[in-house]
């Protein structure tokens, strides 16, 4: 589904990614781990097409098309979803209105009919139950005055609603207590499917206790220096990143 080859990218002319390769197939869950500043969030934002992140070399193919040809919203329409590390507040914008507009934008772009208010209500209620988001938060302004946990749950709700082909979770676990983490993980696990791929960007192995990845990659200095299965995450938890840094340097 997603193939990244020799990806080099800069932010403010500073090189962040230096020849990253990654292959993700439908149905797989990949965890990307790495020390601060290794380029994890940069990768997430480049996949989403955010301005300010410049690809200088290499290619990204998504569903056999050159992903870099598409705008932010076109990528969203093709099924790329980024759960943000810091979801922004949209004062005065009703959460329900926003979610409906988002869903219908994606549906329109894919030649599907828009959901009317009734059908939408039914669907959003189901999804809200899935991520245990209280219905009253649907009536509030988008993320306005939400707690950290509520914001992250709202992200997972959007993911559940938009049913993306590739979900990228950017440090979704940061700032969450153990209960909130469990709720988020349950939501994510419920969304695992043979058609859907997920990339989970995280600092800690903790989230991976709840969301079991098929592959774990270690990102250092803008390259994937080691890949393995779940056991690699435990090894990192135990030994830290330094041993990989040292081996990489050697």
């Amino acid at each position: 589904m997603l193939t990244i080859r020799n990806l080099h990218a800069t932010v403010d002319d500073k090189p962040i990614l230096n020849g990253l390769d990654l292959n993700v197939n439908a149905g797989e869950v990949h965890a990307i781990m790495g020390p601060n500043g290794s380029g994890k969030s940069t990768l997430a934002h480049i996949l989403a097409g955010r301005e300010g992140y410049r690809v200088t070399e290499g290619e990204i193919s998504f569903k056999n098309q050159n992903l870099l040809d598409f705008s932010i919203e076109q990528r969203a329409h093709q099924g790329i979803f980024l759960a943000m590390q810091y979801p922004v507040e949209l004062p005065g914008v009703n959460n329900m209105t926003f979610l409906r507009e988002a869903l219908n934008s994606v549906r329109r772009a894919n030649g599907e009919s828009e959901l009317d208010a009734v059908a939408f209500m039914k669907r959003i209620r189901e999804k809200a139950k899935l991520v245990e988001l209280p219905e009253k938060l649907l009536k509030r302004d988008v993320n306005s005055g939400f707690s950290g946990g509520e914001k992250k749950r709202n992200e997972i709700l959007q993911m559940a609603l938009l049913e993306p082909a590739l979900a990228v979770l950017d440090e979704t676990d940061s700032g969450l207590d153990i209960d909130a983490l469990r709720v988020i993980a349950n939501g994510v696990n419920a969304l695992r499917s043979p058609e859907r791929a997920m990339i989970i960007v995280t600092h800690y192995q903790r989230l991976l206790d709840y969301i079991e990845p098929d592959y774990v990659h270690v990102l250092v200095n803008g390259r994937i220096v080691r890949s393995g299965d779940k056991s690699l995450a435990y090894e990192l938890e135990e030994k830290g990143y330094n041993w990989i840094l040292e081996e990489d340097a050697a």
């Binding site: 932010v11 403010d12 989403a48 955010r50 301005e51 300010g52 705008s71 932010i72 919203e73 969203a76 329409h77 979803f81 980024l82 943000m84 810091y86 979801p87 922004v88 949209l90 004062p91 005065g92 914008v93 209105t97 926003f98 507009e101 988002a102 869903l103 934008s105 994606v106 772009a109 302004d141 959007q158 938009l162």
Partner: protein, 482 residues
């Protein structure tokens, strides 16, 4: 990292839907103003002597006045002798007006603007007075309103048919000596809307006036007077458009509201005068004096305005809270883009005890637009326990526009309580990215964020007009992120 997408500069050009010109024969006075012109206007309307005298007194006072220059506006000199002060579409005969006799060109004009004058096609529950250049061309639902005792007619008719009310109230809220443009208006006003709601009556429908400037080189000087007698209620809406022309045109209206004891007047404006082109050529100069007098105890006046048009807007809808427990409200969305300039706000003059006022002002600046909030809150000596809350928010789009806030607060009573909150923000790249990542295109994202910003004001508008206002805002801000 660039803070905003750069394609936007190219998108800044937009259409102005109401910019067409109606080909209709008009009876237009040559440009220029002197006592004879004032007399001719009065004579054309067949006015009684007292009205002519009122006009002349205003004209003579106007000659002694100077144009105000304190506003935060870059204003070219206006040639007051270069403007025609009267223009009316020619009528086939002078018989009483009914919809059948209106020139089909005019009906068509209003249809194009989305204001059908045929009652069967009209928006349910809204009566319309249509003012075309200097005169009122049609007033709908008069019969139904008359059954409720409500008087809803053009100002010209009111002078003839309800002279006692006009004499009692006209000029009592905004006297001709009030300011330069009010004096000019009092001398040359040609038409406008007159509303009287008798005691205890809740007006059975929304009333509205639709102003249209058509003729070139004319000014529009309308005069609106709304009187809500004891315990009555009325909700009134006003809309405005004008054709696209290269020269500036002057609009200097006066609106007076009088609310007696326990009466409520809600006055909403959706102003979409032609704003001029991208280089700042043409557009309406909008110099308007609007004031409401809460004369009776527990009276209530609320102003809601959505200002998206005009090259220059100079407008401060105000409330004089004279009666005890009277309340005044001002909700405003003002948008400036291109080279538009707006200096707008309100005055809340607290005189009575326990008077309350609320001000919510939302300024949106895009392109090279300059947006100024100017507001006065005055707590007079007798205003025991008076309260005001002011909230003043500015939203900037791009880096060539400006937002300015000039609050004036005068407190002469120690028990009074005045709060002022102000914020200035930009649509952030984070917000746009968030919306776009969820599938919204940039236009939809901006529209959603801006509408969210204006929500507190839009919720004060009647439903149909809130929808109109949102649409207008979308058109106005199309591609305005820069």
């Amino acid at each position: 990292m660039s803070t905003m997408p750069d394609t936007v500069e190219n998108l800044l050009a937009r259409g102005y839907d109401a910019g067409f010109i109606t080909a209709i024969e008009s009876d237009t006075l040559p440009p220029g103003l002197d006592e004879d012109v004032v007399r001719v206007i009065s004579a054309k309307k067949n006015e009684p002597e007292w009205m002519t005298e009122k006009r002349l007194a205003a004209y003579r006072h106007w000659l002694t006045m100077k144009e105000p220059n304190w506003a935060h506006l870059n204003l070219p000199a206006i040639d007051f002798q270069g403007i025609s002060y009267y223009s009316a579409p020619k009528r086939k005969d002078d018989g009483p007006k009914s919809l059948d006799e209106i020139d089909p060109e005019l009906l068509d004009t209003y249809n194009k603007l989305g204001i059908p004058l045929e009652e069967q096609k009209a928006l349910a529950g809204i009566a319309v007075d249509a003012v075309f250049d200097s005169v009122s061309v049609a007033t709908t639902f008069r019969k139904k309103l008359a059954d409720a005792g409500v008087i809803f007619c053009s100002m010209s008719e009111a002078v003839h048919e309800h002279p006692e009310l006009v004499q009692q109230y006209l000029g009592t809220v905004v006297p001709h000596k009030d300011n330069f443009f009010a004096a000019l208006n009092a001398a040359v006003f040609s038409d406008g809307t007159f509303v009287y709601i008798p005691p205890g009556v809740r007006c059975p429908m929304e009333l509205s006036t639709y102003f249209r400037i058509n003729e070139a080189k004319t000014g529009q000087f309308e005069r609106t007077l709304i009187i809500a007698d004891e315990g009555s209620y009325v909700s009134y809406l006003e809309g405005c458009t004008a054709p696209m022309r290269d020269e500036n045109q002057l609009h200097a209206a006066v609106v007076e509201l009088v609310a007696l004891g326990d009466a409520t007047i809600k006055y909403a404006t959706v102003q979409n005068w032609y704003p001029g082109d991208e280089q700042g050529r043409g557009g309406i100069f909008n110099f308007v004096t609007k004031r409401g007098d809460c004369r009776g105890d527990r009276s209530h006046i609320s102003w809601t305005q959505v200002e998206t048009g005009s090259a220059i807007t100079w407008k401060y809808p105000s409330c004089i809270l004279r009666g005890d427990d009277a309340t005044g409200e001002f909700y405003s969305v003002a948008v400036t883009r291109g080279r538009q300039q707006a200096d707008t706000g309100t005055k809340m003059i607290h005189i009575g005890r326990n008077t309350r006022s609320t001000i919510v002002s939302k300024g949106i600046s895009a392109g090279e637009g300059q947006n100024t909030y100017r507001g006065l809150v005055r707590m007079s000596q007798g205003a025991e326990n008076a309260r005001n809350h002011t909230q003043c928010d500015s939203l900037l789009m791009g880096d060539k526009c400006g937002a300015h806030t000039f609050p004036y607060i005068e407190v002469k009573n120690p028990s009074a309580d005045v709060e002022h909150e102000a914020t200035t923000s930009k649509i952030s790249e984070d917000q746009l990215f968030y919306c776009q990542q969820r599938g919204l295109d940039e236009e939809a994202a901006v529209s959603m964020i801006v509408n969210g910003f204006c929500k507190e004001v839009f919720k004060e508008l009647p439903m149909e007009f809130a929808v109109e206002a949102q649409k207008l805002l979308n058109v106005t801000l199309e591609g305005a992120v820069g």
